[in-house]
């Protein structure tokens, strides 16, 4: 076998192996998307009931709470960025990071200091590499976030917002995550989580539903006190789940195009290998024909 042909054969073998791996990763990601979607659906009843309750207290009483009142002058904002621990997901992480950077730039243009909180090793690595300050970071659960993880993330954030700005607290909390629209579409977006705008929460509930006048136990303030942190946790949990589902969907798509590309590459390489083999055979034939012609010429010459 000629050198050229051997090189092609080797490359085909290696690309075939890569294709098998990416195909497997594609199928794993596809099954994980379904699982993640199921988790999003399972967490919905709790989120809806909680939203209802928050709306009920918000509209049923005139209670003021640090988590619902907008500071007059906002000097410091917190941005929570949700990325994934692992890459191989196309533009998933860079889109989320880009959205966070745009938000940070916008807030800084308004004269605010921005504290960045990051979930996921990719985001942490990005910020560390550029030597930017990270207020707090969490890693290790982005593939399958549990409610306890959302609590872990929400704790320091709620603490920061309850603290006075002068003591290093923040006035508002924004979250950047990737919304899972469908299998094909995921969108990085930012949303203001705190202070909570009760009017916006009220708009989320189905229209035409009249909320009854609740009896609060022990009091509206206490209920709101207990309710708001849970609400924030449940929002963060939902964002974590959506990011996880989006990440798996992005991985699936990236691995699918990798598999397709590998298939194409294999086709091209086999054609080249065939051509090389054919050229080799042609050359061998012409060598034999040439050789025999030279031989017969020589014997014909000696006859004379």
């Amino acid at each position: 076998m000629g050198a050229q042909l051997r090189v092609y054969k080797r490359r085909i073998r290696s690309v075939t192996a890569t294709k098998k791996i990416t195909k497997a990763m594609e199928m794993i990601a596809a099954s994980r998307v379904v699982k993640a979607q199921r988790k999003v659906a399972a967490s919905t009843p709790y989120a809806t009931e909680l939203t209802r309750a928050v709306t009920a207290v918000g509209t049923g009483s005139n209670t003021k709470h640090p988590l619902t009142t907008q500071a007059e002058t906002v000097t410091r904002s917190a941005v929570l960025l949700l990325t994934s621990d692992r890459g191989l997901a196309g533009a998933f992480n860079s889109n989320a990071i880009k959205a966070a950077e745009q938000l940070t730039a916008r807030l800084e243009a308004e004269g605010r200091q921005v504290d960045t909180y990051i979930v996921g090793r990719r985001g942490v690595a990005h910020y560390n590499f550029r030597e930017r300050k990270i207020a707090d970071q969490w890693t290790g659960f982005t593939d399958e976030p549990a409610y306890a993880d959302a609590k872990k993330v929400a704790g320091p954030l709620i603490e920061a917002i309850e603290k006075d700005t002068a003591d290093g607290g923040v006035d508002e909390l924004h979250i950047v995550y990737t919304e899972f629209v469908s299998m094909m579409t995921q969108q990085a977006l930012d949303a203001q989580l705190l202070p909570l705008r009760l009017e916006e929460v009220a708009e989320e509930k189905p229209k035409g539903e009249i909320l009854p006048l609740y009896d609060f136990e022990p009091s509206a303030e206490d209920v709101l006190d207990a309710l708001l942190p849970r609400y924030v946790e449940s929002r963060i949990y939902n964002a974590l789940l959506q990011s996880a589902a989006s990440k798996h969907a992005a991985t699936r798509r990236a691995m699918k195009s990798a598999t397709d590309n590998a298939g194409e590459l294999i086709n091209t390489l086999s054609r080249l290998a065939n051509a090389a083999r054919q050229a080799e055979i042609t050359q061998e034939i012409s060598e034999i024909v040439g050789g025999s012609a030279a031989l017969s010429d020589a014997t014909a010459g000696s006859d004379k």
């Binding site: 009931e49 009920a56 022990p218 949990y237």
Partner: protein
Amino acid sequence: MVTRGATLAAELHVALVAADREVWSGRATLVVARTTSGDIGVMPGHQPLLGVLESGPVTIRTSEGGTVVVAVHGGFISFADNKLSLLAEVAELAEEIDVQLAERELERAKAEGDAAAERRADVRLRTVSAR
């Protein structure tokens, strides 16, 4: 019309949801839970209520005459239009609780002075004994 109203009012719809799943839902005649200001029993036709729950067992008397006991670790109770929602971060049906595991955890928590874990294990054991 009156009788229909009466039979309807004799039961309430209960949805017990944890943060990551719906634990139990169905019809019931009485739900007893502990709020921060004391035990509360909700029967059909109760006035709209929104309260903060203490960690502890919640007892649901179902329409079929059975009793469902659930360990609820903090959360809320809300009642309106004959619909009762129990929201809990973590909730476990009494059947799901592993008694030996809970006892072991209680001992370990006591030894280590972990108050939160001790309370969790204690709630679990109380729930099982209330069944």
